[in-house]
Amino acid sequence: LSPDPNDIEFRPEDELYKRLAPELCKDGLPTSGVYRLNKKPDPAPSLDLARLTTPDKVLSKAPKQGFGLGVLTVADVWELGLTVKYEPELGNDAHCILVAGTAPIDKQKTRDLAARTRVIKSPATIPPKLDIT
């Protein structure tokens, strides 16, 4: 059973996991595209609250090999004027979203979020390095 959303109190040191699609990374680091809004019904950037999941569990939702894993702290999100909202979904008790707080999620914010993301598992390189022998 997911924790009641009202029972989740975020702490600054809380960590949030983000899967890193290799296509959205360059030189092993995320680009702003990782945090860009989607035009789907739920457009907000999704992350997983680390204390409710594990890196392996987060990466198991990747559609193919080669995804990396990044970490943001809640303090990072708050410092940028954004808010973290706990939104558990079917099959993912750790699901959270980033929403506008005192600042909107504009292009600059997505770049700042990418810059603050610490990579704990490197994504695959795109395009693949050619093994010329």
Partner: protein, 160 residues
Amino acid sequence: MGLAVRNSISFTRSVQAELFPSTLENVRVVHSEMIARAVDDMFGRVHAMRSLPENWDSYSASPPSQAAIVKLLNIVREVIGNRMSVVGSPAIPYVVAPLPDGGVQAEWRCGSRAIEVDVNTDGTFGYLIVTRDSTNTQTAREEDHVDESAVLERILSVVA
């Protein structure tokens, strides 16, 4: 060299030759390994973008629109044609990438400035210009739904 590798290189070269004949000529003249590598990297990324399925980012992203990719390549060609002889490799995007909503993005970096350009699925463009001054203070300016000539002007002002 393996067959797959040869085919991959051959594919990349043929697409480059088709889309960027004058650029390739420039590359030959300059004989810069760094430029050739940056061009190869860019085309490799574009090639990878073309075949992305739904949910390619694992967060329900749409595949990049082919029209957006073509528009992006047009802009890239213009920038390279205008700036390669002036700035060299910074005329080639630092990165090209898909966006989760079906658009595509390119970023140019030149000295203390960078510009991210989005090609939206509705055919319009957006951009973010980031500038760092000598004290490392960052300023940013962004705009959305601008036309191709306006975005090209902004890119050329950064890649200079």
